[in-house]
Structures are given as structure tokens and as C-alpha cells.
Amino acid sequence: MMRRDHCLQQLVRHRRDDDIVVATYQAAFDWMRLAPHPLNYLSIGAMGQASSHALGLALGLPDRRVIVLDGDGSLLMNLGSLVTIAGAAPRNLFHFVCDNRCYEANGSHPLPAADRVDFAALACAAGIPHVASFDQVDALAAELPKLLALEGPVLVALKVVPGDPSPQDYAFLHGEETRRRFKAALHGAL
């Protein structure tokens, strides 16, 4: 099992300056602490929607990498998005699922079938062409460059536990200024 912040630190090393990172809930809070950047897309709005926002961005901006930092509970609320992503087949979409088997933001209650559900297998069955799963940071660090060089869509399940606590700034996540800065950065106005 890996600490989520240790996994995300590995991703920080490979982030290009023009990559868009779509992050939700606990992964978003950790990412904001570890890698603040105006191209972090944090205004997901409704639980489960990170992968779909990312698909829109990936289709609209085919020359940029779009990296999603999703939660397992969040993905379960929008599981069909895996099939939609497989169908749309964006080559620039990289979907990381923080698999902690619980609704961490809502009291850490377990997922349904928390002892059995397999997110990598779900992604394979949905038709995602490149799927991987990690529970050791060293293995993740070794494979990340290859995974991020693949033609997407790619899904990576990260078996994690919480790491150091991050500030939970919901006002920043949902704030109008966050969206304004993202759009300005996207179009070169920052």
C-alpha cells in the first residue's frame, strides 16, 4: 500500500508545464499542496464528474496531456464514464484513480464491495486500452514515464492510504477566481 501524497509526488516530477491536471476531493487537496499551478482544474462541481470534465478538456485540447486524479468512490458515481472515454478514445487522457476503498471525504465509510472491487479490471472491461495497477511507490516511479508516453486513454489504479493531511480549502476549489485563472492560463493570458 502507498501513501497518496507519495504517489502524487511521483506524478509531480513528470508534469509538463502545459499539462492540465483535473483533480477531485482528497487527491485535489493533496495536489493543491504539492503542485499548485494555474492549469490545475479543480472545479468539478458534482461528485464523480472529474473524468467527464477531463474528457471534455481532452477532446477540446487534443495537443495537451490531460491528467485526472480521481477517487474510487467518485469514479463509482460515474462508472459509465469509463465506457464513454473508451468510446471517444482521447489519446491525451491519463486517468489515475486513488483507490483507498472508502469515502474518505465523508467519514471514511467503506465502498460497497470494498474487499472485492477491482478498478483496473473494471477499466479493462470498459475497453480502456492501457490499464495498470500499483501498490508500491518504487514500481509506480519506474513505470510512470512509460505510462505517460503511451497513446491514451490510460487508467492507473493506485492502491493508497492517506498521507500527510492537506488543507481542505473547498472555497478555493469551487471559487470563481479558480476557474477564471484556469481559463486565463489555458489561453495564455497569465
Binding site: S52, G56, T84
Partner: protein, 174 residues
């Protein structure tokens, strides 16, 4: 209205032409029988559009939001049941985040001779009051004559960054 039938539905070709004139490039859709033959099938064959087939309508709200940030115009095509199922995403992303989510909504089960609020179908007549409660701009497309208003409505939605719903009340004609 077309021909001698005063309750003829809107022309699918005219809706497609209006979407092109409004610079729409993407269509995110869950099939709906009101718009299936006259609109969604022709859209699926038109190379001017990228069709994203969805599993569930709320995906489309977020996809359209992502596309809007990329300055690419899109519409979400669905049935009113999909609108109802997607209310939380529409509430958060379209309304509270003020994003230009443009929805084309087939009103399955609406009587052709009645406006939506006068429908005997509960699931139809509640749609406009819900939109009014949420502050969503909406318009009715009953016949071909109503389609011209769609172009400035989409332009306005993007210019003002706010959602729009066009309620298609009769089966779209091929």
C-alpha cells in the same frame, strides 16, 4: 409549421443548420426517441460534428464544461428524463459555476397540441417550472419556425457564460 399539418415537428435539417451557424462542433448525446431519427442519426453522419456517445446524461454536462474552457462549442442532446437525472450536475456546473451548457431536450410523451406546462404528463409539465426555479434560460421548439431563435440563444449562452435549454416538444422530422 410545415405542410398542412399544424402539429408537424421541427425539421432536423434546420436544427443541424442552426447548430452549424452557431459554431457548435461537439454533440454529447444519450439517445431520445423524440430526436432520434430526425436529429441524432443525421448528426451522427455529419462530419461537421464530433459526436460523443454517453452512458449517462450528467457526463455530458461536464464534457460540455470542459469543452467550453477549451473554447469549443457543444450541445448536450437528451430526453427530459436525463435532464431530471442530471439536476445536481446542472445545478453545480451549469448554474452555480455559470458555464454555457447548452441542452437540447426532447420532451418524450408531450402532446403535440399542447405546450409543455399544459401537458397531462407530470414528467413533462414540471420541466419548465424546474428551469425557472433554477434560473436556466429556456425556449420551446415546437415547429421549424421556432428554430431560428436557437442561434442567438446559443450565442448568448456562450457570450454570457450561462446555461440554455431548448425544449423540443414534437418528434423531429427527417
Amino acid at each position: 409549421m410545415t405542410g398542412g399539418n399544424s402539429f408537424a415537428g421541427p425539421s432536423g435539417g434546420a436544427i443541424i443548420a442552426a447548430l452549424k451557424q452557431a459554431r457548435v462542433e461537439f454533440v454529447a448525446a444519450v439517445p431520445d426517441i423524440v430526436t432520434s431519427a430526425g436529429l441524432l442519426w443525421p448528426l451522427s453522419r455529419d462530419p461537421a460534428f464530433r459526436l460523443v456517445r454517453l452512458c449517462k446524461e450528467d457526463e455530458g454536462v461536464s464534457i460540455c464544461a470542459g469543452l467550453a474552457f477549451a473554447d469549443r462549442r457543444a450541445v448536450l442532446l437528451m430526453q427530459q428524463t436525463g435532464f431530471l437525472d442530471s439536476l445536481n450536475s446542472i445545478r453545480a456546473i451549469a448554474v452555480e459555476y455559470a458555464q454555457p451548457i447548452c441542452m437540447l431536450i426532447g420532451l418524450q410523451g408531450k402532446e403535440p397540441d399542447r405546450l409543455p406546462t399544459a401537458s397531462e404528463r407530470y414528467g413533462v409539465r414540471i420541466i419548465e417550472p424546474i428551469m425557472e426555479a433554477m434560473g436556466i434560460d429556456h425556449m420551446n421548439i415546437e415547429g421549424t419556425a421556432d428554430i431560428a431563435a436557437l442561434i442567438p440563444a446559443i450565442d448568448r449562452a456562450y457570450a454570457q457564460s450561462r446555461p440554455l435549454a431548448a425544449l423540443i416538444g414534437r418528434t423531429v422530422e427527417q
